[in-house]
Subunit: 194 residues, 2 copies
DNA sequence: ATAATATTTGAGCAATCGTTCAAAAGTAAA
DNA sequence: TTTACTTTTGAACGATTGCTCAAATATTAT
């Protein structure tokens, strides 16, 4: 009958992540969050310290989700390239409809924040690097399988992939042509450095 | 001695554009703007109606500046491709140090705003399309000069350019390696569809 | 000069911001 | 039960938000 003894921390972080992802750091008020996660201010502050503290948890949670998605794609396909392109298609085509926001939450945060919140920027950058590392691993596997030339730097290619994803997810917000987007994603792998 | 009879509208819009560009729509308060443009609230509201009204002027102003920059590059080079790559290098390499924000103000706005401000989103989208049109013109000129195959759709290539710019400007925020960035920009024109 | 018009001023409004903390409610140990 | 401890509650704080408007000040017309 009564409320739970202790709130489900992960469930709360999930809800907070989605709201922050949807509205961004500044446009999300603590009152918005209180309603979303159904907790009173005192409880939130006891658990997370501040608006920034909860945001940090959300950033970490978002990154974990992204890394899990990558590994899921890895397991679904033998070909690392196929895994990568499936992951990108999911991001660019599906995420913008089903997720809180079509943009990558990390890119959105980098874009939004000023040096006034340097710590949050640094955390966000390091999360982006974590994700890039996953791409590096995928690309190295593809190189070992002979799908990509060994001459290319796996790090450079990972950066290239990240640039494409960021650019395409922004472009996806101004276009409705899904098949055009799909073509552009396929082009990443048929044309350029691969 | 006393203040001017009437404020310099364009100068005020320029200052407001820079502040909005730097901090984004939500994080910029009317009091921030009042200090930046040195006007009292009543004057600002008499001239621009609202925070959104002034933001609209800033978006338009930013777009005009961008279009002027493109045309400047056009006049500096005979080769449209060279003009384009110079423009992109200026955006990605210089803007992030000298401008209020390394990001494109329009992309930043698209990334920040939710459907709660649909009108601002629509305006921003249409400005992005205006800029894309400038790219289309440049590419068509390059096609007429035989620098790019006529088979390719100029619109598709313009979209591709826009994706690269958005992706690279975001990537530029997480990297300090300018020469790497320059290489990536050159690669746009040496590799893919050109 | 005087009157009429245009423009700027800034105190102040209601609403919301992030945050605090004493009190209430719930749980666990004795 | 009673005691000790943990967790939740929500009213309330000072600061800040976007914005208004009567009063003050410039400018222009006569």
């Amino acid at each position: 009958m009564a409320k739970q003894a202790k709130f489900d921390r992960q469930a709360v972080i999930n809800l907070a992540t989605n709201l922050y992802w949807h509205k961004g750091f500044h446009a999300t008020s603590m009152r918005n969050l209180q309603e979303e996660v159904d907790m009173r201010p005192g409880s939130i502050y006891a658990a997370f310290g501040s608006k920034e503290g909860l945001f940090k948890e959300a950033l970490k949670n978002y990154t974990d989700m992204a890394k899990n998605q990558i590994n899921q794609c890895k397991q679904m396909y033998n070909s690392p390239i196929e895994a990568l392109s499936t992951f990108i298609k999911a991001l660019v085509l599906d995420t913008r409809e089903n997720a809180p926001n079509g943009m990558c939450m990390l890119a959105k945060t980098i874009s939004e924040l000023t040096p006034e919140h340097q710590e949050l920027i640094d955390i966000t950058k390091s999360h982006l690097n974590e994700i890039a590392s996953e791409f590096v691993k995928l690309i190295q596997e593809a190189q070992n399988l002979g799908q990509i030339s060994q001459d290319k730097s796996a790090e450079d290619l990972a950066n290239y992939i990240q640039v494409q994803i960021t650019g395409l997810r922004t472009f996806a917000k101004i276009t409705n042509d899904k098949s055009k987007l799909e073509t552009m994603i396929d082009d990443i792998f048929t044309h350029y450095p691969f």
